[in-house]
């Protein structure tokens, strides 16, 4: 069966999507289309957005007047996720999807559903979709047999599922890897098509480390697509014995920084 290759881009992940586009051009991977979710993301009506905005402003006012000296639980959780939140700012590609797409056709989805996907990605072809957006993919998406949603994950499978796995691997004295997997019903549990070591040797701080990780993830996705295109490889089921990791607390991250970067 013929293979076709796509990029799926949501609003919040534009930088990732553009970085992937750049890498694909450098390597000479020709994409068959870019699926944009920007229309879907801003689908909520003006009135709903206005109500949400007003609720948020009211909450901020109440917090400022009555709870100035206090935090929300979300603030505490945010302090655990600081590095993740800042991660998106590490990538700074120029332009947007449209200025970077070249001749690649763009399909703007009006609705985010399996039916919408089936309309643009018909049967008879194996469609491989690099995902940078779309949230958590439900069963209706991952169970479409001829559409393969692909994710590049900064961890060797099955030992490094979850979050901040680049940092966890280094802390555990394991080699950091990127694995390109097809999405299935398990989190980070899908068949692995491609994996490669991440080279972080030139990183001078934690942010350069993460940036290096991201860039090699985009490259791995491109390399994976090239491998499928040229050698028609398929995914290998993961071994048993999965380990899950979670967002790294600042104190653990600090220990990692000391380990890596103190002279």
């Amino acid at each position: 069966m013929q293979n076709k290759f796509y990029l799926l881009a949501g609003n919040a992940y534009q930088k990732n999507a553009i970085s992937f586009l750049r890498q694909s051009k450098e390597i000479g991977l020709e994409l068959d289309g870019i699926i944009l979710l920007s229309n879907v993301d801003s689908k909520r009506s003006f009135s709903k957005r206005l109500i949400t905005k007003m609720k948020s402003m009211f909450q901020k006012l109440v917090d400022k007047v009555f709870f100035k000296a206090y935090l929300d639980f979300k603030n505490i959780e945010a302090s655990w996720n600081l590095a993740n939140a800042n991660s998106w700012n590490l990538l700074n590609p120029h332009g947007n999807i449209h200025t970077n797409k070249g001749d690649i056709p763009v399909i703007s989805l009006k609705e985010w559903s399996a039916n919408a996907i089936l309309k643009i990605l018909p049967q008879g072809v194996n469609h491989y979709v690099a995902i940078y957006g779309g949230g958590i993919f439900s069963k209706e998406f991952v169970n479409i047999p001829h559409v393969h949603f692909m994710n590049a994950h900064m961890g060797k499978m099955p030992k490094y599922r979850g979050m901040n796995v680049l940092e966890w691997a280094i802390l555990n004295d394991d080699e950091p890897y990127v694995s390109v997997m097809e999405l299935n019903n398990a989190i980070d549990g899908g068949p692995v098509y491609f994996e490669t070591r991440i080279d972080v040797s030139s990183s001078k701080d934690i942010f350069q480390l993460r940036k290096a990780g991201y860039e090699q993830c985009f490259r791995a996705m491109v390399d994976c697509f090239m491998l499928i295109k040229n050698q028609d490889v398929s995914g290998k089921e993961q071994d048993k014995g999965a380990t899950y990791y979670y967002s790294m607390h600042p104190k653990i991250r600090h220990a990692l920084i000391n380990k890596l970067f103190s002279s």
Partner: protein, 400 residues
Amino acid sequence: MLNALRRVKYYRLYKKANFKLYVLDRAKKVGPIVDTDHALQNIFQWIEASFRATNDGGSSAYYTVGRGWKSSYPETTGYLIPTLYDYADYSQNSKWSDLANSAGSWLLSIQFENGAWQGGQVDSDIGERVFNSAMILDGIIECYERENDPKYLDSALKGLKWLVSCIGDDGVLSQHNISAGGSFDLLSLACMARAWQYLEGSEREDTLSEIRRSVSAHLELQNANGWWKRSNFDYSYPNTSLLHHLSYTLDGVLILSEILEDKSLEEVVLKSARKMLSMFEVNRKLPAFINEDWTPYFDLGDKQYSQCLTGYAQTSIVFIKLARLKSDKRFLNAAYKMIDILSSIGNRSFGQGGLDYGLAGSYPIFGNYQPFQIVNWAAKYHAESMLLLLNNSRSKKRAK
């Protein structure tokens, strides 16, 4: 509506400090995150207030919102003692070791002739209780190790003898016990093992044999999925585990593993701890009451559940120990997060001694474990978790 009004009246929620606490918990507002040193100062400020509130040398069981301090609680005073001594070491301030020694003397003065201690608070008429006596044993042995005063060892060995006599033919500690005993008695057995280390001769062997027999019987309470039967009060929600009792169980098994030098017991704990780790990290909280299949019991209704703050502190202790034993920093990672949560909740003052910097039974305060009570056992375990992180918590294994 009527219940709500009764609650306002009973807990005096119309008073400023009480109202403020209630509103903050309703709005899920907590204090700023503080460093460990500051958090320790906060919690020991409350602990000190709990001792000052009584006249006898013991620590008050809890401060009830709008009602004041309860009388001294022998059980929790007993297990506060090691934490007081550890904090004296950390802070280089002997007032805390003096407090511990004074608490120890008080406990000696209320020990029964047969070696047991009572259940409940000191002014209750609850008779001898196994779990309570075992917790006190931990404190008395600590006093002996710190003060080197033989009166403490005599008291502890007398207590141990009584406790061993309570082990039933089936190995379970169902006589004279809270809820006819439960998995939490693995901590009772750990405290007994701590005292056993000071026995000699044939009594030492016989006692060890009884303790091991009882440990085996209690380990049967763990299900294949790591959940524990009989890890809640018998009057509580049926077929649920209370996080506080679950954590007693796991900590007890870890202490037993260390004292009895049995590494297989670590795997028993890991079976449960892995489930708790993923529950906590995925949901960013743990429920106070846990169903057999590790799902939360929604005690607040409407798919909402309260959290047990003591349980958090105890779970963080178990996690820190596991991180060190198994070189698995994911447990340490989660422990740091739990300690952040507790330190922030505990970093609130209300201009009211019993409320300032204390930790309640439940979060929010109107949850279903010790509602509207700022409990001394949450303070103890929160302090212990931070001291353990700082490597300032002594092992229960007798130094050679």
